[in-house]
């Protein structure tokens, strides 16, 4: 009896030492299933990309149905952002920033379309449709061939034309921050 109490007491002291100094807890634990519902971000190394795949040909159809009304039939001439062309214009007086001329990572294209497009129904495209429409937009920019196909393995390997077009601000350079820690 005595030894049990002592053990409990010792355990309590250990807990106090390990935990942050808080009088009580806030919030509730997040379950893996619900985290998966919201955990949509995709990194340049492909971490976060879901299963599925899509071809340029499939993407042409997806684009016509979901994107062309705002971005134009071939990603040009729409009422919203131009998606195609502009390569070689960035150092000119009238730079044209598009997916093809400016975006450094193809993974960002998947992430953005998947989370934010189409504008009126964000998140409504399936994983397959998102891979397909990304493939089509990259094809329109001359980055993927007409028979191209994307999935979680091939998308991070796509080399965007402007991949080396960014220079980090010295104060917040990811390659140098936290190096000493």
């Amino acid at each position: 009896m005595y030894s049990t109490s002592k053990a409990l007491l010792t355990g309590a002291i250990a807990l106090v030492l390990v935990s942050p100094v808080l009088a009580y807890d806030f919030g509730r634990p997040a379950t893996p299933d619900e985290i998966a519902l919201w955990n949509i971000d995709v990194r340049p190394d492909g971490k976060g990309l879901p299963p599925g795949s899509g071809t340029v040909a499939q993407g042409k159809q997806v684009f016509a149905e979901n994107c062309a009304a705002c971005h134009g039939d071939a990603g040009v001439g729409g009422i919203k952002d131009r998606l195609v062309g502009g390569q070689g214009t960035l150092a000119s007086a009238a730079p044209l920033k598009t997916v093809g001329s400016f975006w450094p990572y193809a993974t960002t294209l998947f992430d953005y379309v998947h989370r934010a497009m189409p504008y009126q129904a964000p998140g409504s495209l399936s994983n397959d449709d998102t891979y397909a429409v990304a493939a089509y937009i990259l094809h329109l920019n001359g980055i993927l061939p007409a028979d191209g196909k994307l999935d979680r393995d091939s998308l991070p390997k796509v080399r965007m034309p402007n991949r080396d077009g960014f220079v980090p601000d010295p104060e917040f350079d990811p390659a140098k921050l936290f190096r000493e820690k």
Binding site: P20, L22, D25, F26, G27, R28, P29, A30, E34, I35, W38, N39, I40, D41, V42, R43, P44, L90, A91, A93, P95, K97, V99, F102, W103, P104, Y105, T107, T108, D111, Y112, R115, A116, Y119, P122, G123, G165, F166, V167, P168, D169, E171, F172, D173, P174, L177, F178, K181
Partner: protein
């Protein structure tokens, strides 16, 4: 929008803002100033002309502005795209020429969103904090309100503020058009480090993804520097009340001194990782294209800035006494000095700073001036406590080029012609 008609000529000689209050002061001040034509017109009005006192309105649930006060933001699209349909607007600019002091009223705080302001029921809103943590947690708004809180007055500035003047200066712009994408509020909420302690962040995690609950799911990668860990907080209060929907209800991230876009509104997810995610917003959008075709990335801090808000674009002034006033701010810290030139940046005088001067908040400055009626140019420049001096236009463009679109903090020059018309010019 301010037009010359909003600033009656007979009041412009003293204080264009305290119209109702300052009549008697104006008479006194004007009468003593040579060269002013204000006195005769204002003095003609007798106290007998002031309407008699009368019983006023019943008490109400909240206070409305006077019907005599015309003050509003202006929804605009990109540079040069003004007077657009609200559905085509991408931001809404604060009326800097009609505000006093340094705190922006909540309903006039500038607004920027990427897919509209969502209508969020706070009872159904949740904040997920996960990633490289020992214990992923879900918080409700009530959970946050129960935690130890801080309040802090800070400016938030869209990185597009000033973007009208990158390539040319439209002479018909007001200061609301040129600089209306910055505002200062008191925000109340929970320090980020408190949430970090609750979830037990892995020491190897130095980057955090913050994501909004708007349709676009706007998300940014945030480096967890010592400064950011010390100062960032998740706010639910704005100027003493729950945050308004346009500004992130029911909770948003506050990142003092850093890009407006990092202050994620309608915050619903914080994820800890060990590198940036390279979201659309930190690659394709909020990066600054230089003249050589390379873009600066992760330029997160808002630099030293200032602007004269009166006299400013589209106002008309008379020769004689002028009170020059404006706002200064820096994402590096406190404003320590604002200088004003009334001769086109040839000579400078130090302006008075209104107290309190707070770090990473807007500071009101003012200076007396007597305008001799000759055409000239007026300009302000700020200096912060880290020694950063707001650059002149030419020096700034020499470094930044004219394609950057974001982070414009060059000195703002207003020209005055012989008729007292104030206009936007580059330098």
């Amino acid at each position: 929008m301010t037009s010359p008609g909003d600033i009656p000529v007979e009041q412009s000689g003293v204080n264009r803002r305290e119209v109702g209050l300052s009549r008697r002061k104006l008479i006194a001040a004007s009468a003593s100033l040579a060269g002013s034509i204000v006195a005769s017109r204002a003095a003609a009005e007798s106290l007998a002309d002031v309407p008699p006192r009368e019983v006023g309105a019943d008490l109400g649930g909240h206070s409305e502005r006077s019907k005599y006060v015309k003050i509003a933001r202006i929804p605009e699209a990109g540079p040069g795209q003004r007077n657009v349909d609200p559905g085509d607007a991408i931001n809404s600019k604060a009326p800097l020429d009609k505000l006093f002091g340094s705190i922006t009223p909540s309903d006039l705080h500038y607004e920027r969103s990427h897919s509209g302001a969502p209508d969020i029921d706070p009872a159904k809103h949740r904040l997920l904090v996960h990633g490289m943590v020992r214990k992923p947690l879900v918080f409700s708004v009530e959970d946050l309100k129960a935690m130890p809180s801080i309040s802090r007055v800070v400016f938030i500035e869209c990185t597009g503020n000033g973007w009208e003047n990158w390539k040319s200066a439209d002479p018909n712009l007001t200061v609301q058009n040129t600089h209306g994408l910055v505002s200062t509020n008191e925000w109340t909420g929970v320090p980020l480090k408190f949430l970090i302690d609750l979830v037990g962040k892995d020491h190897a995690s130095n980057w955090m993804l913050a994501e909004g609950g708007d349709a676009a799911g706007v998300d940014r990668s945030i480096p967890l520097t010592d400064e950011i860990l010390e100062e960032a907080f998740v706010a639910y209060g704005q100027n003493g009340e729950p945050i308004r929907p346009a500004h992130g209800f029911p909770m948003r991230l506050i990142m003092p001194g850093l890009e407006g876009n990092l202050n994620i509104k309608w915050l619903r997810r914080l994820k800890f990782g060990d590198r940036p995610w390279m979201t659309r917003w930190e690659t394709a959008r909020y990066t600054q294209l230089r003249a050589n075709g390379k873009a600066t990335q992760f330029q997160l801090r808002m630099d030293a800035n200032s602007v004269i808000t009166s006299p400013s674009g589209m106002m008309v002034i008379k020769p004689g006494y002028q009170r020059i006033t404006g706002l200064a701010w820096s994402g590096h810290g406190k404003i320590v000095k604002v200088e004003i030139s009334t001769d086109g940046a040839r000579s400078w005088k130090e302006a008075q700073l209104n107290l309190p001067v707070l770090p990473k908040a807007q500071t009101r400055f003012q200076m007396d001036w007597t305008w001799d009626g000759k055409p000239t140019r007026i300009v302000s420049r700020s200096t912060d406590d880290k020694g950063n001096v707001q650059p002149d236009r030419n020096s700034f463009i020499a470094v930044a080029g004219t394609n950057a679109l974001f982070h414009y903090n060059a000195q703002q020059t207003w020209s005055l012609d012989e008729a007292g018309r104030v206009r936007n010019v580059l330098d």
